[in-house]
């Protein structure tokens, strides 16, 4: 019994319409959890966030509290963060270092691989109780890594992560190749929420069409800031990466710490950026270096991992808690070992555009919230139009909507086929 999504996808007539109840209906929301969030591979975290044995962090993934640890052997574990005794959260800290986790209720204590180490009052329990598999913390059914990116799935069976990622895997590799020493999450998380449906943020994250209107003040700001604009025009294409993943890849006038110089950074900066570029070229060849350094990429890995490699690089996930509400976590990721100068400019760049205090994200939030409010009109105004570029011959442009259609086709498939 799949869900009737009501999407109209008529290639011949160049019509792609999404019914607005996809954003408002409680039944659709519940079906999404069953068909999508309980089945897909979901981003958990990055290896750099757990630098040594004993490191841990807690995170909510698809409404479930998860404890992500490295045990004493350095192995990574994704545990459901609930005590097998009465269900209390075992770890109540956001991150840290510990070799054991004690539940504050009755003192059951677990190793960072989830096994029950200490059972207070054990004489009250039968022999073998402590090693009973039911009395250990439960591992998330599946966890895999792709490079340094860790994903989990709440489904016991399904395709492996690399298969799931399809061509998006190569874009993750492209990001990891920015530095020979790999990448790391920079400390400090932007944690916010939007009063709108989660799919609006998926669309917005790689929407090349809205910038000119929605972000006019950001583009004017770049124009006002002497030397902030480089020579490259906003121009590029949309690319379907398979399995619902897609991206836009384009040139842009902003500076990129890897590695696109703008006059604002001065002659010293030019030397440094040239050095970064030359290292890329000698390690990876001219074509790959050019792509990494000069192209910006906004990618959505279905359903909810955004990696935007723009004037800085953000990793962003978001989960709905209701049809009209989502919680978002966003991080900055950067090359390990980059100079203090580049790190400083990267963070300065990041906050210029991205996040709740940036010159652009607040207006994205406004757009998403106003869409959600607009859906209340109901009646005959029941469809969103996602058809831009559908009739275009050749490669879809970055400001078309082919990348969103890739997302919606996969969303439609998963809901329609669920339980069928």
């Amino acid at each position: 019994m799949g869900v009737e999504t009501g999407i109209i996808n008529d290639k011949d007539a160049a019509r792609f319409l999404v019914p607005r109840r996809a954003f408002t209906d409680r039944g659709v929301f519940e079906a999404e959890y069953k068909a999508i969030f309980d089945n897909c591979w979901l981003y958990l975290g990055h290896a750099s966030e757990l630098p040594e044995p004993g490191s841990f962090l807690t995170r909510t993934v698809a409404r479930r509290p998860v404890l992500f640890t490295r045990d004493k052997d350095g192995e990574y574990n994704a545990l459901l963060n609930a005590c097998p005794h009465r269900g209390a959260l075992v770890c109540r800290e956001r991150h840290g270092k510990s070799r054991a986790f004690m539940c504050m209720y009755h003192g059951w204590t677990f190793g960072s691989d989830g096994h029950l180490m200490t059972l207070p009052g054990s004489s009250g329990y039968p022999k073998g109780f402590k090693t009973d598999p039911q009395k250990q913390m439960v591992h998330v059914p599946r966890m895999e890594r792709f490079g340094d990116f860790f994903f989990i799935s709440f489904a016991k069976d399904g395709e492996d992560l690399a298969t799931y990622l399809a061509d998006a895997g190569d874009i993750l590799n492209l990001l990891s190749e920015q530095s020979p020493q790999g990448m790391e999450i920079i400390g400090g998380t932007q944690e916010y929420a939007i009063r709108g449906n989660w799919k609006l943020l998926a669309e917005n994250s790689f929407d090349g069409y809205h910038a000119a209107c929605n972000h006019s003040t950001y583009l004017e700001y770049l124009g006002n800031t002497k030397g902030a604009l480089g020579v490259d025009p906003l121009k590029g294409e949309a690319i379907d990466l398979g399995h619902g993943h897609a991206m836009v890849e384009y040139t842009a006038p902003w500076g990129r710490p890897v590695a696109n110089w703008v006059p604002l950074w001065g002659e010293e900066g030019k030397k440094e950026i040239d050095g970064v570029y030359n290292e890329l070229e000698s390690r990876l060849g001219a074509d790959r270096a050019q792509r990494i350094a000069k192209k910006s990429r906004n990618m959505v890995i279905f359903p909810n991992l955004v990696i935007n490699d723009v004037m800085a690089v953000t990793v962003r996930t978001f989960f709905p808690t209701a049809p009209d509400y989502m919680e978002i976590n966003a991080w900055a990721i950067a090359p390990v070992g980059e100079s203090e100068w580049r790190r400083k400019f990267r963070l300065y760049n990041f906050t210029e555009f991205l996040g709740p205090g940036g010159f652009a994200t607040p207006d994205d939030v406004e757009a998403i919230e106003k869409c959600q409010q607009g859906y209340a009109v109901g009646g005959d105004a029941q469809y969103n139009d996602i058809s831009k570029g559908m009739a275009r011959e050749g490669v879809p442009s970055f400001d078309d909507e082919a990348q969103m259609r890739a997302f919606w086709v996969e969303w439609d498939r998963r809901l329609s086929e669920y339980g069928a």
Binding site: R94, H95, I186, G187, G188, T189, Q190, E191, Y192, A193, I194, R195, N214, S216, T217, Y218, E220, Y221, N224, T225, Y325, E327, W331, A332, E340, R343, K344, L347, Y348, F350, T351, E352, G355, P356, G357, F359, T361, P362, D363, V365, E366, A367, E369, Q373
Partner: protein
């Protein structure tokens, strides 16, 4: 210490606090009335305005090594105000209603710099939303031509996340 020196020390401390309070209240009032050019004029030309995220120690975090919400130097702060004056700053069009409550002001002098700590609640109301930002200010103030000016303002949020706020499109 004689009574008169003690009195003088107390007088100095009170006077300093009153001057700082005066500036902070003036600042809050200007933002609440959207007189942002006048607010901007309270800053020195090498000023910084920071808002760190909630999962780092906001009192000590460094914007050159941690991701913040806002990292404004004087140029970007000016541009922030220019932006807020435009119809294209959609998040603040129409403008939200603001109210800053500033309290628990403490100040001390350290060489040429006056450090102050103060508590704030900033209320933002706009159409269907009403959000509160709660935190504390860390100001670094300097004397310029007999006036106190802001050289650095850090707004540390005593919150776990910006939920449901989503944005700091206003000035804290």
């Amino acid at each position: 210490m004689t009574t008169s020196t003690m009195d003088r020390k107390l007088d100095d401390a009170l006077l300093l606090r009153l001057r700082v309070e005066d500036l902070l209240y003036h600042e809050a009032d200007l933002i609440d009335r959207w007189q942002l050019e006048e607010w901007f004029a309270l800053f020195t030309e090498d000023a910084h305005y920071y808002v760190p995220p909630s999962d780092v120690d906001g009192d000590t975090a460094d914007p050159e090594t941690s991701l913040f919400y806002i990292v404004d130097d004087h140029v970007r702060l000016r541009e922030r105000i220019v932006r807020l004056g435009k119809i294209g700053a959609h998040s603040e069009h129409p403008r939200s209603k603001l109210r800053h409550l500033v309290t628990n002001v403490r100040a001390h002098r350290d060489g040429d710099i006056i450090h102050s700590r103060a508590s704030f609640i900033v209320s933002r109301a706009k159409d269907i939303t009403h959000d509160l930002f709660v935190g504390h200010y860390l100001h670094e103030l300097v004397e310029r031509d007999g006036q106190l000016k802001i050289q650095k303002k850090t707004c540390v949020l005593d919150m776990e996340a910006l939920r449901p706020h989503a944005r700091i499109s206003i000035l804290l």
